[in-house]
Amino acid sequence: MQDLQNQMGAGSIIALMIAAITFSGLAIIVSKFLLKTTNTPAKLQPYECGIPTIGPSWVQFSVGYYLFALIFLIFDVELIFLFPWAVVVKKMGWVALIEVLIFITILFAGFLYAHKKKALQWK
């Protein structure tokens, strides 16, 4: 099995991608062949409980979502930094813990600041 895994390696990801595309593509194509499509203007309207849509749907969106996305970005990068740390921390001992403690303290101070500025409050 070990040989087999080494042989397959990263290629298996491509194989899985191709499998996914084939599966979804086949499903859609087969269903296309099985039926007759009739398109009427009323049928192709965007669904909005029966009435025509008022105004465009591609509009500016509430800024709250972007604020959360920004804060998420900071913490996501932190998470990526923590992954290699987590692997070695058991061997490195207290030094690694204290270093990450400093890192997290700085980050947490920023988090508290965002909190105080009410960036995390849904409006």
């Binding site: 899985l16 269903s31 669904y47």
Partner: protein
């Protein structure tokens, strides 16, 4: 003895003995693809049936019981119905992105299968950054969802997609931090090593308080990440009709639906691997005879048993808790779960360094 490991070994040795190495590799890829596709189909059928049956059981009703023996073919019938339904692209939609989105969602949920360990020695790719790979790939699915919502050119879809994006992105953090706790304990990102580190006990049992806390956080976070109730406000039926897939119909809708259920399976499989020992049987200290009886149960049965238990727990949530409001949802993550999981990670590190875990 009959086991998945032996079968895969047999197949691969036969292939390499009889075929040119390149062709053997290609044949292996084809086998892997066919296996994963069939796993997808079976999971789709089983999980949807299970969801409906669990729902019915919790609400004291019968559930689907007409098609086939005791209604077990209901999902097959539903799939057939979806195949012969028209898949339309609405007017004004961005046609390219609209049709691309289901593919992206499907690719994500299929690629994420690669590092999962389904049984002893039965894994597609034992990559040394397995857990990291799972976290990384699972965050791509939000692109598919946002794409679907935006391309539909429908207000419900856009709202649902934005909510879904904010929610998935937020809860990914606590899920990642919860996973890190186990990485700290086991000192590895490789799925097989993490499972082997639990040979003498599952991390949930031997990881003290931090493991239990992180398990609870993980379950909450993945429930939110897969858009399940009580965090299903991305597709809250009563306010947004169906969220980001309002405009999808026919087979494209079926693909979203399937990917959703497979994602539930995947996150539960990750939870079972990290906290409940993956395919490791349940052992109690020195009870040799008890341990031998447990060893006799095949490893795949252990893995799928644990995974389906977690799936059942997540389905249980759906009929227990009312839906959250979006501000409550974001408060829960940013005010409680994120600080708790950060401090929990540090606590786990202290315990791991001092060697206090068993």
């Amino acid at each position: 003895m009959f086991s998945l490991e032996n079968i895969t070994n047999l197949v691969s040795t036969w292939l390499y003995a009889n075929l040119d190495p390149t062709w053997a590799l290609v044949v292996q890829f084809v086998i892997v693809g066919v296996l994963v596709i069939s796993l997808f189909s079976i999971l789709g059928l089983v999980l949807i049936m299970m969801e409906r049956r669990v729902a019915a059981w919790m609400q004291l009703r019968l559930g689907p019981n007409r098609v086939g023996p005791r209604g077990y073919f209901q999902t097959v019938a539903d799939t057939l119905k979806l195949i012969v339904k028209e898949g339309m692209t609405p007017d004004g939609a961005d046609k390219f992105l609209f049709n691309l989105a289901p593919f992206i969602v499907m690719i994500v949920s299929m690629v994420i299968m690669a590092p999962l360990m389904f049984a002893k020695g039965f894994q597609i790719w034992d990559v040394n950054i397995g857990v990291f790979f799972i976290t990384a790939v699972s965050s791509v699915s939000v692109i598919g969802i946002l794409m679907a919502g935006w391309a539909s050119n429908n207000k419900y879809s856009l709202l649902g997609a934005m909510r879904s994006g904010a929610q998935i992105v937020s809860y990914e953090l606590s899920a990642g931090l919860a996973i890190l706790t186990i990485v700290v304990f086991s000192g590895s990102l490789q799925v097989s090593t993490i499972v082997e580190s639990q040979a003498d006990g599952w991390w949930l049992l031997k990881g003290h308080v931090p493991a239990v806390i992180s398990f609870v956080i993980f379950i909450i976070a993945v429930t939110a990440e897969t858009n399940r109730a009580p965090f299903d406000l991305a597709e809250a039926e009563s306010e947004l009709t169906a969220g980001f897939h309002t405009e999808y119909s026919g087979m494209k809708f079926a693909l979203f639906f399937l990917a959703e259920y497979v994602n539930i399976f995947v996150v539960c499989a990750v939870g079972a691997t990290l906290y409940l020992g993956g395919w490791m049987p349940f052992h109690i200290g020195n009870w040799t005879s008890f341990n031998q009886v447990m060893d006799y149960i095949p490893s795949s049965a252990w893995f799928f048993g644990k995974t389906f238990f977690l799936i059942f727990v997540i389905m249980w949530f759906r009929w227990t808790f009312p839906r959250l409001r979006i501000d409550q949802l974001l408060n829960l993550e940013w005010k409680y779960l994120l600080p708790i999981s950060l401090f929990n990670l540090l606590l786990a590190t202290v315990i791991a360094i001092m060697g206090l875990h068993f």
